[in-house]
């Protein structure tokens, strides 16, 4: 390497080190002043959030976000993000909240704050009807499709760490992972139960069925760390709307399943 090459290399390294911590402010006051709630949401995740026949956003997460904005007395701006980018949009301040089927986990709580749960999801593993798969261990020697940065990915990776020959293929977002499965590229799919049901309903010919439920997760609103006022306001809003049944009604309208607010409380991990 010539001396000039070292200079270039040094410049590159210096640039990569030039990062500082973001300044914090009262986001709740910002939202009120701006009159707009900016929500990061992945619109490729039916039946939580997707496009309807007229290509307008719909789904339980969309209606929840709309209700929240209405009750805060502000307009809503949906910022459509890829599945793996939901947390990044919060951390970098591109959005005020992420309301996008985010399971509350200990790992995520290190990076962002979460509201109390308002909904839930079950993560499942699906495979062809004839495949004898009952646990993660039965995936030995198989390849599995999953979406990067989801609890499906985390759980699958942890649980198959000691299983021989599991090939995990991670896709950037749910639509791409689903496309890989419906097109027959992958026989095994680690995903959420509602998404799997939607996928099977839309593609009855695909040889795929739910094999086992890995875990149920509580879903919360992700908020940047330290925004106590906003977190408390949203927590209060969730309590009110679970009690008056509005959030339960939204969930049941899209998920075709019951939502038990008491169970949600029990699922909420310690903070």
């Amino acid at each position: 390497m010539k001396r000039r090459d070292f200079v270039v290399l040094g410049l590159g390294l210096a640039l990569s080190g030039a990062l500082v911590a973001p300044a914090s402010a009262d986001v709740l006051a910002d939202i009120k002043a701006r009159g707009v709630l900016k929500v990061a949401i992945d619109l490729g995740n039916p039946p939580y959030a997707m496009m309807d026949a007229a290509f307008k956003p719909t789904g339980s997460e969309v209606e929840t976000a709309e209700l929240l904005a209405k009750d805060l007395g502000v307009k809503i701006e949906l910022i459509s993000v890829p599945t793996s980018g939901r947390i990044q949009f919060i951390v970098s301040g591109k959005a005020d909240i992420a309301l996008s089927t985010l399971s509350i986990t200990a790992e995520r709580l290190k990076v962002v704050d979460f509201s109390i749960p308002y909904s839930e999801t079950s993560i499942v593993v699906a495979a062809p009807k004839s495949a004898p798969i009952k646990t993660y261990a039965d995936l030995a020697g198989k390849s599995v499709a999953v979406t990067r940065g989801t609890v499906n990915d985390t759980r699958l990776t942890e649980s198959t760490a000691n299983v021989a020959g599991v090939q995990i293929v991670r896709f950037e977002d749910d639509p791409t992972a689903s496309a890989a499965v419906t097109s027959g590229q992958f026989a095994n799919y680690a995903t959420s139960r509602p998404l799997l049901q939607a996928l099977i309903k839309a593609n009855p010919k695909v040889d795929l069925e739910e094999k086992f439920v890995a875990q149920a997760y509580p879903i919360g609103v992700a908020i940047r760390k330290g925004e106590t006022a906003l977190t408390q306001a949203i927590n209060q809003w969730i309590r009110t709307n679970l009690d008056n049944g509005k959030l339960v009604a939204i969930y049941e309208k899209f998920q075709n399943a019951k939502l038990d607010p008491k169970r949600l409380q029990e699922m909420d991990p310690p903070r």
């Binding site: 000039r4 590159g12 970098s92 791409t176 496309a179 097109s183 939607a198 839309a202």
Partner: protein
């Protein structure tokens, strides 16, 4: 709740295609202007000028466009600078294309035989006359195929902007796919749309080459 692939989906894909075209044009025009300046400065006899250019090119060519986009989109707000997704994608693609076009064009200038440069000097032509009348016309012919090849690359690389939320044709495609669960139809339509953008560029390139290859007629 789920819909079949229908006319509305072609319409929204065409809506996304507009942003693909806008991003491509931004990259061509501004990347081209900066790239041209870089090429001229790159053949400069002044050492520090050509070295600065070489460093810039090495930095940009040494990092993936996607990462440059991430740095601008997620990095600048941390430093207190607000950038929208379209702006961030535009800046990243302009940086990217300027570095590559700069290199392609510098190499084209340098591959014009030295005797041509010396001949122009002997005729006492000014810098502008030498470049405009002697060197550039010959360099353009050499530069056309790699330039068009790279422009086609840019059109396709704009799809990376979908990751930071630019609603281009690829981004809309993912949403269409999620709404219809019909990946084959969706991606086939997208492929056709990209082809319709790129093919005319290749045709134009061949015309251009013929028009400039005076000595080969």
């Amino acid at each position: 709740m789920f819909t079949n692939f229908a006319l509305i989906h072609v319409q929204v894909l065409l809506g996304g295609l507009i942003w693909t075209v806008v991003l491509s044009l931004i990259s061509f025009v501004f990347g081209g202007l900066i790239g041209f300046a870089l090429a001229l400065a790159g053949v400069s006899k002044v050492r520090w000028v050509s070295r600065t250019i070489a460093t810039y090119v090495a930095l940009i060519q040494g990092s993936p466009v996607l990462i440059i986009m991430f740095v601008i989109y997620f990095g600048l707000p941390i430093l207190g600078v607000e950038v929208g997704s379209l702006t961030a994608a535009g800046i990243a693609l302009v940086l990217f294309s300027s570095a590559y076009l700069g290199t392609i064009w510098r190499a084209s200038l340098q591959s014009v035989p030295k005797t041509q440069w010396e001949g122009a000097d002997c005729l006492a032509l000014t810098y502008a006359q030498r470049m405009g009348l002697v060197i550039l016309p010959q360099a353009i012919r050499i530069a056309t195929p790699p330039t068009v090849g790279f422009m086609v690359q840019i059109v396709k690389n704009t799809s990376l902007a979908s990751v930071i939320g630019v609603v281009d044709v690829t981004y809309v495609g993912k949403q269409v796919n999620a709404a219809t669960f019909q990946p084959f139809t969706t991606y086939l339509v997208i492929a056709v749309l990209y082809f319709c953008l790129c093919y005319p560029l290749s045709v134009l390139s061949r015309r251009f080459e013929r028009a400039y290859s005076v000595s080969h007629r």
